[in-house]
């Protein structure tokens, strides 16, 4: 609970109805998905609850956020901001913290069809924005987490791989103008957004050095460097017709597949062959989706239940699958892309099982267009999380995959994680094959203490493995412990990151549980 005088000041800012420090609300906000294994990794009881926030505040605009942050500085209370709030990164790391739930900041500020960008507030979801951008033939890059999450959070604070990354890149690289409340309460506006006269959102870099480099890296700062209240990011041409015809009842919808889309599911048989095929397809700049999944993962993306997963024998038997979705705006483009794919199939002696051995439900195509394939990771055990998260060449991604199989199998053998034969990864290309990332979705049972602890151990061992084998920094290098582990092996970057934290958050007010403390 808050001190009375602090509560009153918060109430004055957001209105009494938008601040709550009562037990019911604060306890509810301490729950989040995957919190149990984060607790386990920190040596705590594997419960799905974080520290209980002192209060929950619902600001409605940037001025209110600024005033709250100033009060936090005045009374030495930390804050943790959340948008759509998926995952442990939204949770406070101490008892001296308030949550800023940004759900009232839910407006699409602008869709600029001519300059190809959108400006949104934190609680706009990918699906909400996509529905609007489709009206003008455009699409938004959505992270693998799905269309239900906040594109602002992905662009400013989280990570940003998506199924459509060959076509739409990475969230961090799509950022234009930004409105950012710093941990000391000052409002920073990046790029052209900071102009005093004729301000607009079309670029986020300069004048001079780009402060986007302080805002985030490959991973975001998870509210550890302030609160992002608006962001502009690029929009991309919708890859095919925007007519979206859906019928039926959840989850078994029927979708009328738009003109000019074709799916290829190919068994490359070996990782070496996959590398060559991956690079060739991406060099040709034809894919909308180009992802490698394990055969098990492949079965999962075409399934909505365990029962339906089990009938995917023709594809689950594949050794090294590659999923390619091509999409086109015109018939000419479509025919050209098909010709390229046909040539690649012949040159590399490949066979497309789609249309011959297997036909997915039409809903798959809708989910692909909405970047909604990640949810299938939950089917088998009800819970999953990804270890790894490296990003560089396809070669390092595949090497990581191969080298990590025995490690994963060890935990499968113990019965603490789901059996994907150790091969369960997702690798996607970005920007037509200029770089690739790998993550290893790992299924576990969130309700089983043994499984949660096993998952935590598996995660820890993966981190050590990646570090020792020089495979790159995984996603979840965040928090002091991880930075202190990886920093000395990575040019002592943690020292620089701490200096940034100290300079921009001198009072340590932005919760650094998933970032870094100034120490």
């Amino acid at each position: 609970m808050l001190q009375k005088q602090v509560l009153e000041q918060f109430q004055k800012i957001v209105g009494p109805e938008n601040v709550d420090d009562g037990e019911v609300m604060t306890n509810a906000y301490s729950y989040n998905w995957c919190m149990e294994f984060v607790n386990s990794m920190e040596g705590k009881e594997p419960l799905p609850f974080s520290s209980i926030p002192k209060a929950v505040l619902l600001p409605s605009n940037v001025e209110e956020v600024q005033q709250i942050v100033r009060i936090c500085n005045k009374y030495n209370i930390q804050f943790k901001a959340q948008s759509t709030g998926l995952g442990p990164w939204n949770q406070p790391s101490s008892d001296n913290c308030v949550i800023l739930d940004l759900r009232r900041m839910n407006k699409i500020i602008k869709i600029d069809e001519r300059n190809l960008f959108a400006v949104v507030e934190p609680y706009v979801s990918g699906a909400q924005l996509q529905a609007e951008t489709m009206k003008v033939g455009l699409m938004v890059h959505m992270p693998g987490a799905g269309p239900q999450v906040s594109p602002l959070a992905s662009a400013t604070s989280m990570n940003g791989p998506g199924f459509t990354s060959p076509h739409t890149g990475h969230s961090a690289r799509n950022v234009l103008g930004v409105e950012w409340v710093l941990p000391d309460g000052e409002i920073l506006k990046l790029g052209s957004t900071g102009l005093k006269n004729n301000s607009d959102w079309y670029i986020g870099d300069g004048p001079g050095p780009s402060l986007r480099g302080i805002m985030r890296g490959w991973a975001g700062a998870k509210s550890g460097i302030g609160v992002f209240t608006k962001v502009a990011f690029k929009l991309f041409p919708y890859p095919c017709s925007t007519k979206f015809k859906l019928s039926g009842i959840s989850p078994n919808y029927e979708f009328e597949i738009p003109d000019y889309m074709k799916l290829y599911v190919i068994d490359c048989k070996s990782y070496n062959h996959l590398e060559k095929v991956f690079l060739k397809i991406e060099e040709e700049e034809i894919s909308f989706i180009c992802s490698h999944l394990s055969s098990y993962g492949l079965g999962a993306i075409f399934s909505n239940s365990i029962e339906s997963l089990l009938d995917k024998i023709p594809i689950v038997g594949m050794k090294v699958p590659l999923v390619v979705l091509i999409a086109a705006r015109t018939k000419r483009e479509f025919e050209y892309k098909q010709k390229v794919m046909s040539k690649i199939m012949i040159d590399f002696k490949l066979e497309n099982v789609i249309g011959s051995k297997y036909n997915p439900n039409s809903l798959f195509y809708a989910e692909a267009l909405r970047s909604n394939l990640g949810l299938h990771g939950f089917i088998a055990t009800g819970g999953f999380q990804s270890s790894k998260g490296q990003c560089d060449t396809v070669k390092v991604c595949l090497k990581t995959t191969k080298m990590s199989i025995p490690l994963k199998k060890k935990y499968i053998k113990r019965g603490v994680i789901g059996n994907d034969f150790g091969e369960g990864v997702w690798i996607t290309s970005y920007e037509s094959g200029h770089y690739f990332h790998i993550e290893s979705p790992t299924m576990f049972d969130q309700t089983d203490e043994k499984s949660v602890k096993g998952m935590a151990e598996n995660m820890e061992e993966n981190h050590q493995f990646d570090l020792i084998k020089h495979l790159g920094a995984p996603f979840f290098v965040e928090g002091d412990k991880m930075h202190d582990l990886f920093g000395p092996e990575m040019m002592n970057y943690h020292i620089w990151l701490r200096k940034i934290k100290k300079a921009f958050d001198p009072n340590g007010i932005a919760d650094s549980g998933f970032y870094i403390s100034a120490k």
Binding site: N115, L116, G208, A473, W496, L497
Partner: protein
């Protein structure tokens, strides 16, 4: 210690690091660095040093912190330096000339990436890459003697917007020595592991983001050498097309051309594309003043160039699809004033988009020019044209380059003049300042604030920007030894 003793000590200390033959105090040489092609006035450096290894750069920067002198990094020996960013502003300054660091460290065709040192120039790199069927993402007809790395660090616009996925492209990973003298590697090059350990597992340093939760390469870029000195970088490449088809349309209606071009960019239909006014297109493709004037007089005012390209067995299929789709777009649009032009040989245009020039193409018309450039959205472009033309109606070259996937435009106004004519030069200087200020007041976003612009630019930006940038400076160059006085970093 008096000034002479102190200079002597500095000379000897530097000589210990990189050898006395790699240092000069020759006044004539020093004078070359006290001015450039811009109007910016600064000081002469105390000496010039040519390090050839990263460790020498580290030691010199540490020495600067210890002995309190300033370092101005320069990456090429080109006489065509511009914009005042390499002119010392303080008395006690040295030039760190990086031209001896000129290795092309690796060319990786499979991953479409090259690793180069700062002294590598366009005239060296373009042919080397072409031999391997690779191409750099080029600015418009770069000068051959210019450092490729400097061009990238200064965010010079590249001419293929669909390959401009982020403002920072084509810059990927870097090795940088911060103003503290600390060596660092950005992006995936940070590790874990040494570069050779990383290469062993297949990394090629193609991911610029990070390490982890910050991206220092973004703050180094655009810093005019004031935060760190980059000792190598990896750059994104593309495969060389086997066929390139050039299209040239001209019109007196800029909106119509911009509209059409926007569709080409939005649907990623073309590779290179840019818009030039008649004078600038003539300067680009012709060499003598007479040729330039003849061509400029034949062309309509605005000229759109775009290039379609293909590779391999399906090249014709690709070109047919692209041309067919573009024709449909043209048919669907109301392009009343657009005319296809055959006034320029297509190979002359390809030379400018694929190659380098021995001298800057902007010096061809009247030997001298001053360029005013900034970023804009589409809507304000016509207004900016009106403003500049009102104040400088003649001898004005104009260039619009869509960047960053078509989300904004690099707008450039080249004011041509004869610098040997004192009155013309003086008038031009006044106009240059007046037009620059007028554009800034109208909201033009000068994202690369050089020389005298810097103070005016930051005054028109919210104060928090300068405050935040100074915090960054205090982290990476706390003693202000690197290029002091540039941007919002006071002397």
């Amino acid at each position: 210690m008096n000034d002479y003793e102190s200079e002597d000590t500095l000379f000897h200390s530097l000589a210990k690091i990189c050898g006395s033959k790699n240092i000069t105090i020759d006044p004539q040489n020093l004078k070359l660095y006290s001015n450039d092609m811009s109007f910016f006035k600064g000081n002469s450096p105390n000496l010039i040093t040519w390090p050839s290894k990263t460790q020498e750069v580290v030691k010199i920067i540490k020495l600067a912190n210890q002995m309190e002198f300033s370092i101005i990094p320069v990456s090429s020996s080109s006489k065509y330096r511009h914009h005042g960013d390499t002119i010392p502003r303080k008395d006690n300054s040295i030039i760190m000339n990086l031209t001896k660091m000129r290795k092309v460290i690796s060319i990786d065709k499979k991953n479409r990436v090259v690793m180069i040192e700062p002294g590598v120039t366009f005239e060296e790199l373009i042919p080397k890459l072409r031999k391997k069927s690779l191409r750099l993402l080029l600015p418009l007809y770069p000068t051959g003697t210019k450092s490729v790395l400097t061009s990238v660090l200064e965010r010079e616009p590249i001419i293929i917007p669909r390959y401009h996925w982020d403002t920072s492209d084509p810059l990927l990973c870097t090795e940088v020595v911060f103003g503290t003298g600390d060596l660092f590697r950005t992006g995936t090059a940070a590790g874990p592991g040494t570069l050779s350990q990383q290469k062993k597992v297949g990394q090629a340093h193609v991911n610029p983001m990070g390490p982890t939760q910050f991206s220092p390469y973004r703050v180094i870029q655009g810093a005019q050498g004031s935060l760190g000195i980059v000792t190598w970088a990896t750059l994104k490449l593309e495969l060389v097309p086997t066929v390139q088809k050039v299209f040239h349309y001209h019109s007196n209606n800029i909106e119509e051309l911009l509209d059409f071009q926007q569709k080409l960019v939005k649907y990623r239909l073309c590779d290179e594309t840019f818009i030039l006014n008649n004078l600038n297109l003539a300067c680009l493709v012709k060499k003598t003043r007479n040729e330039i004037e003849d061509l400029a007089n034949s062309l309509l005012k605005w000229n759109l160039i775009y290039i379609l390209a293909g590779r391999g067995d399906l090249t014709n299929d690709k070109l047919n699809y692209l041309e067919g789709d573009i024709n449909d777009l043209m048919g669907d649009s109301n392009l009343e004033h657009l005319e296809s032009s055959n006034l320029i040989d297509r190979n002359e245009i390809l030379e400018c988009t694929n190659n380098y020039t021995s001298e800057p193409w902007r010096t061809r018309y009247k030997c001298s020019y001053q360029d005013i450039f900034f970023i804009s959205n589409f809507e304000n472009i016509s207004n900016y044209i009106k403003k500049v033309e009102l104040k400088y109606p003649e001898n004005l070259g104009i260039y619009f380059q869509p960047i960053n996937q078509g989300t904004s435009y690099h707008c450039e106004f080249d004011l041509y003049y004869d610098s040997k004519n004192e009155k013309e030069t003086k008038d031009l200087q006044g106009k240059f300042n007046e037009i620059s200020i007028d554009l800034m007041d109208s909201g033009a976003f000068f994202n690369r604030p050089y020389g005298y612009w810097a103070k005016e630019v930051y005054a028109r930006h919210i104060e928090e920007t300068s405050i935040a940038l100074r915090k960054v400076k205090s982290i990476f160059d706390p003693k202000n030894v690197l290029n002091p006085g540039v941007l919002c970093f006071d002397e």
